[in-house]
């Protein structure tokens, strides 16, 4: 099986989720044989991707400069056709979620989005959560196909050696939509979907200023701050931090839910976290049913106490 992994590059470096694609591809190659190519939509020496699982690396220096979803999709589709691939893997980040549908439509290949498991046994089968994870769909994948993989699910491993790195001549053609500006979040805050630890607050936090102890704990742990729909709808936190069915689906190593009751649409967004901690005054709150470690108590006492205990 020939697998192309589309790298997501910011500031000259591949994002961690891109290395996870190479890890997933390496597993498939072990089961089905074949080749793993890394496709980099930028210039630079990316031979180090060999250590993460690429047999060869192809850069597209013609795509340096402003991003355009239409022009980049066109150039990438040409590159994919030229290299030939049974499977194109794309990470389901903000960039990949924009490019993968365009590539699927342009190349006329089926798209399976946000996969969380790939198995090759006689054929390829992908698992993807639907209804925000309330149900898992196990679907056979007819090749050639395009899959997006959910970040932080597949394991990246650095173990091989450098791979040969070639540049391809594709240029970005006419650009219709163009990214004109990047507006960084204040302090370059960690995104809830990429963080290893998420400290989330809900209605029980009581107001925007109630997030201060959560911010302090998150700062100490290097965690991202998340919020429930109740907290976002009340205007206490921006939607970019909402965890749940109409927010982000997260799967950090540790999820600390503070003052969150655990509505079904919230659980859908976080119940695949490896460990869940719940802090809530109401012992009957449904969040305690999924919490590995629960504390019944006032978050304004428990969170600072936890911060002190972990210092």
């Amino acid at each position: 099986m020939k697998i192309i992994c589309l790298m997501d590059v910011t500031e000259g470096r591949e994002r961690p989720a891109s290395r996870e694609l190479l890890g997933a591809a390496r597993q498939l190659k072990a089961a089905a044989g074949g080749d793993v190519l890394a496709l980099v939509p930028a210039s630079g020496d990316f031979s180090h991707l060999g250590a993460w699982g690429a047999d060869a690396v192809h850069t597209l220096s013609g795509l340096d400069g402003a991003f355009s979803s239409d022009a980049h999709a066109a150039a990438l589709a040409l590159a994919v056709e030229e290299l030939g691939a049974d499977l194109l893997l794309v990470s389901a980040g903000s960039r990949g979620r924009e490019l993968a549908p365009r590539l699927a439509a342009r190349l006329g290949r089926p798209l399976v989005s946000e996969c969380t498991e790939l198995v090759h046994q006689g054929g390829l089968r992908a698992t993807r959560p639907i209804f925000a994870g309330k149900v898992l769909l196990k679907t056979p994948v007819a090749l050639p196909a395009i899959l997006t993989l959910r970040p932080k699910v597949f394991t990246a491993g650095e173990e091989g050696s450098a791979a040969p790195c070639h540049d391809m001549p594709q240029k970005a053609g006419e650009m219709k939509a163009v990214v004109t500006e990047i507006l960084a979040a204040a302090g370059g805050k960690l995104d809830v979907s990429e963080a290893d630890i998420v400290v989330s607050g809900g209605r029980g936090v009581g107001g925007p200023e109630g997030f201060a102890p959560l911010e302090a704990l998150a700062g100490q742990l290097g965690a991202a701050v998340g919020a429930s729909r109740a907290a976002v709808d009340a205007g206490w936190r921006p939607h970019s931090q909402q965890v749940g069915q109409t927010g982000k689906v997260v799967n950090p190593t540790l999820y600390i839910a503070c003052g969150i009751s655990g509505a079904i649409q919230h659980l859908a967004g976080m119940k695949n976290s490896r460990y869940i901690v719940a802090i809530n005054k109401d012992p009957e709150a449904p969040i305690f049913k999924v919490a590995d470690y629960g504390i019944v108590g006032d978050l304004f006492e428990v969170v600072p106490a936890l911060q002190a205990a972990l210092a």
């Binding site: 049913k289 470690y293 006492e301």
Partner: protein
């Protein structure tokens, strides 16, 4: 400006989703349906653009779905859309490319200056149809936007990206999908609800057949929850468990 909003009906987000005994579909008998929440932001954005434009602008709702989608589409008309078209399929399609091809074909024949949609259906969660429609039409597009303004002959939108936002400029015609935060969708007024019954809703039969998706399974249940203690004195025990038992800190 002629604005077409692609919308669909989905099970209410508070629904418990049950798998049918054959494992090939979800049980639909007890489900109540709503307008896909992200599509509501798209409808609101379309109505705001129309209101800013004044006379001559038009908002058309476009749905691929079963005959039963009609009552949900009427809710969109009640919000203020002018007319609706249902591309009626025998069973809801689960494949985004198939859906996108039906939408793009209709748009090619019927035209639009702007296509809006929700960023994803909260049922199958592909988030793929808007981008596919843009590509099939050869149009500009931007997905999951949380801000949208007219800018001369085009649009300027903002998208949330990891750790920040990006601003995208795009010409018309284009396809833009809406994220939460774009606006606050209005509630239908009583007048709107009454009026919606008389607005044109055209049903176009489509022969597209739903493909078998695969096998549905319930996710593995988490181990039963465990309460380690009450109040702030339990924090010390929690810290110990996180360090020594879970080893995550």
């Amino acid at each position: 400006m002629r604005i077409v909003v692609c919308m669909k009906r989905v099970p209410d987000t508070e629904s418990v989703i049950r798998i049918a005994p054959d494992g090939g579909a979800v049980e639909t008998a007890d489900l109540s349906y709503i307008i896909n929440p992200y599509d509501e932001y798209a409808i609101e954005a379309a109505l705001q653009l129309k209101e800013a434009d004044g006379e001559g602008s038009q908002v058309v709702l476009l749905t691929v779905g079963e005959a039963a989608a009609e009552s949900t589409i009427r809710k969109g008309l009640a919000m203020g859309a002018d007319e609706a078209v249902l591309l009626q399929v025998p069973r809801d399609l689960g494949d985004p490319l198939q859906t996108a091809r039906l939408l793009a074909e209709w748009l090619k024949s019927n035209g639009a200056d702007l296509v809006l949609a929700g960023k994803q259906g909260v049922d199958y969660d592909h988030g793929a149809v808007p981008g596919m429609v843009a590509e099939l039409l050869g149009w500009a597009g931007a997905t999951a936007v949380c801000a949208l303004t007219r800018d001369g002959t085009g649009l300027v939108v903002e998208r949330e990206v990891e750790g920040g936002r990006e601003r995208v400029r795009l010409p018309l015609p284009c396809v833009v999908s809406a994220d939460k935060g774009l606006n606050e969708p209005r509630y239908a007024s009583l007048k709107g609800i009454m009026g919606a019954k008389k607005k044109p809703l055209t049903v176009v039969d489509s022969p597209a057949q739903a493909e078998v998706l695969g096998k549905l399974e319930a996710p593995a249940a988490r181990p039963a929850g465990r309460v380690v203690g009450q109040g702030s004195q339990a924090a010390v025990e929690l810290a110990r468990l996180l360090k020594d038992e879970a080893r995550v800190l």
